[in-house]
Every structure is written in structure tokens, then in C-alpha cells.
Amino acid sequence: MSRKTRDVLSVEWVKLELIRTAYATRGGLFAKMDARMVIGWYLMLAVAPWLTHSFATIIALFVITAVSAALARVGPLVLGLFLVGFVTDFLYAFLAAWMFGGDANTALALVEINLKLATVSLASIAAFVSLDPEKLSTGLLALGAPELLAFGVSYGYRMMPILFEEFGVVFTGLRLRSAPGARGFLGLRALWRWGTYAVQAFYPIFLNTAKSVRTTVESLETRGFTARQGRELRIARLSIGALDVTVVAVTLAAVIAAFAIGPWVMTG
């Protein structure tokens, strides 16, 4: 590891980066929509690619999700990582297939499966990146998900920075109290030391978190936390507007058109 990586790898920097990702306001089309409709929209596009083997249809479905991702204002970093992963996955699979005597047909089949997987994951990126986690959990609650999930999201949303900060403190403490050692071949010994600290830091974290969780649950109890009441209160916030209906209707029409294109390209 060079000096630059070490600077980037400071726990403090990562913590700030994580908090920025989790709490920064996200704009885009789906952020304004009702969470239930976004889930419905996603399910439509997640299932559709598996129902066809027509190349034209698959490409059309991919275009639909790509346009949606653009409308959802997905960041270039997320999209770039997604594209690189998509292309390298295909290349490695083709390389392995070629070793077993694959040909152009194999490549075509691999493009088909990878394009399907890409369509599904692009749909999930478009739908869920811009949606606020608490809004998403409310939507899932309205669709009959257990209350524990919604409680978990709210809890995680509030506790994540605190827990991570605590881990950082324990980790830094361990490093400060330990003697510096040799870097070893390729920095392997330093890496091993880092791994050991990361594992050892969990011992106090386990005990501290157990205490704080007990406090949380007991205070919920004294305040009369009843899950059912929470469900109704949260669902009451949801409402389906004109925008939701329009987006879902337009997508549905586009998906039907994509399926219509398939046979038309084959014959024409």
C-alpha cells in the first residue's frame, strides 16, 4: 500500500463518505413517487426480461431501464461501476466458455443472459437509489412486510453513524496501544495486523452494543411501543398521485411495445 492509499483508507474519511451517501438528499423522478408504485414499477421490469428469448425485446427492455436510470438521476460513479462490472463479467464468462470450445453462439447466449441481468439490476438501481430508505420501508410495510423491518430501517438510519464512530474509536485505540511492526513482504504483515485489529475491535463492540440495545428496547417498552399502531401511522402518509399513475402507465405501455417488437423483427 502506498502512502496515498493509506491516506484514503483512514477510518474517518470512510465514515464521512458513508454518512454522505446515506443522508445526502437525492433528487430524481422516483424520489417524488409513492413507494408502493415504485416497488410495482420495479417488479414489472424485474420479471419482464425472464419471459422472453427475443433479442429485440431484451434490448428494448434494456433501453427502457436505461432511460429510467437517466430520469432517476443516478450518479455517474454508480453507473460507471455497473457498466465495468457488466462488461468484465461477460468477458470472463466468454473466456472460460472459449476454453471449453465455445464459439459465436456462446458469446450470443452470454450477451443474452448478461443483458437480462443488467436490465434487472439497472431497474433496481433506478428505483431504489433515489428513494429515501424510510419511505421505501413504509412502502414495504403497506404491502404487508413485517413491522420488524420498518423498525430496523428507522433504527439503522439513526444508529449507523454512532455505531460506526464507536468502531472507529475502538479500532484507533487498538492501533495506538500496539507496537508498530514490520511491513513484511508486499505489506502482508501490515495487512494481517490490520485484520487482527479489526477482529479484536469487535470484542468491546459486542459488549457495548449489547448494553445500548438493551437500553433502546427497554425505553421502547416504557413508552408503550406497539408495532401495530406504528404501522397505521406510517401508512397514513402514503398517497398515490397523478405522477405515479402516469409513470407506471407509460412504462407498462413501453414494456408491451417491447414485447410486440420481438416477433415483428423476427418476421420483418
Binding site: 483508507l9 470512510v14 458513508l18 451517501t21 446515506a22 437525492r26 424485474a46 425472464w50 428469448h53 470472463y92 464468462a93 473466456l95 472460460a96 466458455a97 472459449w98 476454453m99 471449453f100 470450445g101 465455445g102 453462439n105 456462446t106 447466449a109 452470454l110 443474452e112 443472459i113 441481468l117 434487472v120 439490476s121 431497474a123 433496481s124 428505483a127 431504489f128 437509489v129 430508505p133 421505501l136 420501508s137 420488524l148 423491518l149 430496523g152 430501517v153 433504527y155 439503522g156 438510519y157 455505531l163 460506526f164 468502531f167 477482529v199 479484536q200 469487535f202 470484542y203 459486542f206 459488549l207 452494543t209 449489547a210 448494553k211 440495545v213 438493551r214 433502546t216 428496547v217 421502547l220
Partner: protein, 302 residues
């Protein structure tokens, strides 16, 4: 880490209440176990986000999860609620908050990880026995990754028209999955599973439970929801998965023989795609049934 040494004694089955504490967990204690497991697994996965992924060629040699964190909880506390909390914590802390939520794929991940952790937690009868802990740590990765490989393979089977016909496709997918499987068992199962767990679990035993207002597990005492019937469930599930697998492969092999008869192929060609779907459906239903059975049993006992 300072550790006092405690003698490891097998006290056998405990009946009734010990030290005035009831044996069954109260509702709020279940919630505590669930939330604790969720929070700790979430933090563990966040820590993993810091470590950059290393890929050598097509193989991902990075650690996929810190197995020792949820394993410590399923071994020491109620395995059902701890196993349920861990994958949900990962989804909430890492995927939802980081904007990396992948919809339906998360559901299959939760089912896989829950099953793997629940079975592993039930395997540990004595939290101070290092051999049992080591076996449980490897079991988590073996079950979780086997199920996810199954899902991956069935995706290819369903996603590609007549996948069996395509030259080199089945072999290459199986090769890539196999290499990934071996690397995961080595990195996640042993390096960040067995080695930390055999230190952490005995160290935490008897220390973390009083903080949650629970009596520490006595070695040899069965915990709720980890009866021998689980072994039967696992055996049935494995047998069915293997059966569905073999079924799919046999069909693939048969079709390759059938390539010489185009008419035969025309008649049966599209039908064979349903074999793949059937195999996937069987695997999925077995997973659901197992989860439901485990849940019903736990509810009945608690």
C-alpha cells in the same frame, strides 16, 4: 484482550428455571437479540465496505462477509432471532442506506443467509468447544454459497434459450462458480470465520448474555428451536436440491444426445426450458418450506 480462564464443564440438560430466570425468552428479549444481531452485522458489513475488493482475473478474492460476527450471536443467543437479524441488518445498513438495494435479489440473499446461520447456530451445542465452532463457521459459508450458486445456475438456465445446447456454456458457468466457491470458503469461512470465531465466541460466552438480562447458555443444554428434527429438514432439503440439480443436468445431457434428431428437438425443445424453471422452483420452495417450518417450530416452542 484479557481473558479469564473458565473451566469447560458439560452440565447436561437443564430443567426448569435456573437462578430465578425463566428459560424461554420474553418478547422484548427476542427483540433485543434481533436488534443486536442486526446492528452488529450491519457494522461488520460497513467495515467490509472499507476494505477494497481484490479481484484476480474473474475471481473475487475479497472477503464477502465477517462470518464470526453473526456466528457468535447464533452460537450464544437464540439462533432463530439472531439468524433473522443478521441478513436484515446487512440489507438495511449496507444496501438500503448506501443506495445499493437490489430488490428481489435481496430476498434470496436473506433466505440463504438465514438458513445458513440458523443451521450453523443449531450445530453448536457447546459454545466453548472450538471444534464445534469451527465446523459451524465453515457450515455457514458452505450452505450460503451453495444456495447462491444454485440460484445463479438456475438464472442462466432460465435466462438462456436452450442453455444446454450452447457449446461450452454449462462448463464455463460451473467452472466460474466452482472457483468462486472455493475462494469464499477459504477467505470468508476460514480466514475471517473459523480463526476469529474460535477466539471470540468462548471470550464472549458468559459475558454478553448478562448484559441482555439472559442466563448464559450451559454447554450441552439444547436451545429452543434447535432440535434434532432440524437435521432431518437439512437432509431433506439437501436431497431435494441435489435431486433437482441432477434432474436438470440429466436433461441437459439427454438433449445433447437428441441434437441429432431435429424433429424430436422441435417437439421437445421449448418444453425443456421448464425443466430449468422446475428445478429452480423446487429449490426455492424447499427454502421457503424450511424457513416456515423453522419459524412455526420456534413459535410453537416459545
Amino acid at each position: 484482550m484479557s481473558q479469564t480462564t473458565a473451566t469447560d464443564e458439560r452440565a447436561g440438560r437443564i430443567r426448569g428455571t435456573v437462578a430465578g430466570l425463566p428459560r424461554d425468552l420474553s418478547a422484548s428479549q427476542k427483540l433485543m437479540v434481533f436488534v443486536l444481531s442486526m446492528a452488529l452485522s450491519g457494522v461488520a458489513n460497513l467495515v467490509l465496505e472499507i476494505i477494497p475488493d481484490v479481484t484476480i482475473g474473474p475471481v473475487d478474492v475479497s472477503v464477502s462477509y465477517f462470518v464470526f460476527v453473526p456466528l457468535a450471536l447464533v452460537a450464544l443467543l437464540n439462533p432463530f432471532w439472531a439468524a433473522l437479524g443478521a441478513p436484515i441488518g446487512e440489507v438495511i445498513f449496507v444496501d438500503l442506506l448506501m443506495g445499493d438495494f437490489s430488490g428481489l435479489a435481496e430476498v434470496e440473499g436473506i433466505i440463504q443467509m438465514f438458513l445458513a446461520l440458523y443451521i450453523a447456530g443449531s450445530l453448536v451445542r457447546n459454545p466453548r468447544n472450538r471444534l464445534q465452532i469451527a465446523i459451524a463457521a465453515v457450515t455457514v459459508v458452505v450452505i450460503d454459497k451453495a444456495l447462491s450458486a444454485l440460484v445463479d445456475l438456475s438464472k442462466v438456465w432460465i435466462g438462456v434459450e436452450d442453455a444446454e445446447f450452447v457449446e461450452g456454456l454449462p462448463e464455463s458457468i460451473i467452472l466460474l462458480e466452482g472457483i468462486g466457491y472455493a475462494v469464499d470458503i477459504l477467505m470468508s469461512g476460514i480466514l475471517f470465520g473459523v480463526i476469529p470465531a474460535i477466539w471470540l465466541i468462548p471470550a464472549l460466552h458468559g459475558r454478553i448474555e448478562p448484559l441482555l438480562g439472559m442466563r448464559p447458555r450451559v454447554p450441552g443444554e439444547p436451545i429452543q428451536g434447535s432440535a434434532p428434527r432440524n437435521a432431518l429438514f437439512v437432509a431433506v432439503a439437501l436431497a431435494l436440491s441435489i435431486a433437482s440439480f441432477l434432474f436438470a443436468f440429466l436433461e441437459a445431457w439427454d438433449i445433447e444426445l437428441g441434437v441429432f434428431e431435429p424433429e424430436w428437438l422441435d417437439t421437445y425443445g421449448p418444453g425443456f426450458i421448464w425443466v430449468g424453471i422446475g428445478a429452480a422452483a423446487i429449490a426455492f420452495l424447499v427454502g421457503i418450506a424450511l424457513a416456515r417450518a423453522a419459524r412455526g417450530k420456534s413459535d410453537a416452542e416459545n
